[in-house]
Amino acid sequence: AQSVTQLDSQVPVFEEAPVELRCNYSSSVSVYLFWYVQYPNQGLQLLLKYLSGSTLVESINGFEAEFNKSQTSFHLRKPSVHISDTAEYFCAVRSSGGSNYKLTFGKGTLLTVNP
């Protein structure tokens, strides 16, 4: 069985400050990792994903995440946040083998960017 722990339920930051949203997972097999973002009153949108290869993955809006196999982590970072980044962020994991297409989600981190 897999599980995902998002260590912070809420992260308040000021605009233009750096931010890190932490995600740890547990799995006995190789995994795919995802970060989703949910803006108010909307569904989830894929932010970035790690499948294989380079452990650092980037999104088009300045976020990046680094897969660390030894620490079973996939933390999300942005060097300078904007007001518009205020949203809830979900980390998710899926095993990379077989026909299991289910995602296991963390409980979410609410990022609030203040002026």
């Binding site: 339920s9 909307q42 989830l44 894929l46 979900f90 990379s96 077989g98 297409y101 289910k102």
Partner: protein, 115 residues
């Protein structure tokens, strides 16, 4: 772009009613999912389907059933609605291409209130 459309954004029903939530995707995806989202609990999988007329229970199937008569449509049914089923319901779809590397695409959600 993938489009996942949920039939209602907001829905109010009464205890004991039979409730239908509809979801349609336009990308010919094999997999479809129903989640409920509650504050502090993240997303929890109710049911999923990997083919027409095929379904599997997720983590919290009690009180729910599903129907998938056509590939593009996946319905969630609350057999006898109860107040503890008040929640945000999210539908998602994904392709089987790449043995699980494909992300799930989400609808905007249905906020269901049971009075």
């Amino acid at each position: 772009d993938v489009k996942v459309t949920q039939s209602s954004r907001y829905l109010v029903k009464r205890t004991g009613e039979k409730v239908f939530l509809e979801c349609v995707q336009d990308m010919d995806h094999e997999n479809m999912f129903w989640y409920r989202q509650d504050p502090g609990l993240g997303l929890r999988l109710i049911y999923f389907s990997y083919d027409v007329k095929m379904k599997e229970k997720g983590d919290i199937p009690e009180g729910y059933s599903v129907s998938r008569e056509k590939k593009e449509r996946f319905s969630l049914i609350l057999e006898s609605a109860s107040t503890n089923q008040t929640s945000m319901y999210l539908c998602a779809s994904s392709s089987t291409t790449g043995t699980g590397s494909q992300p799930q695409h989400f609808g905007d959600g249905t906020r269901l209130s049971i009075l």
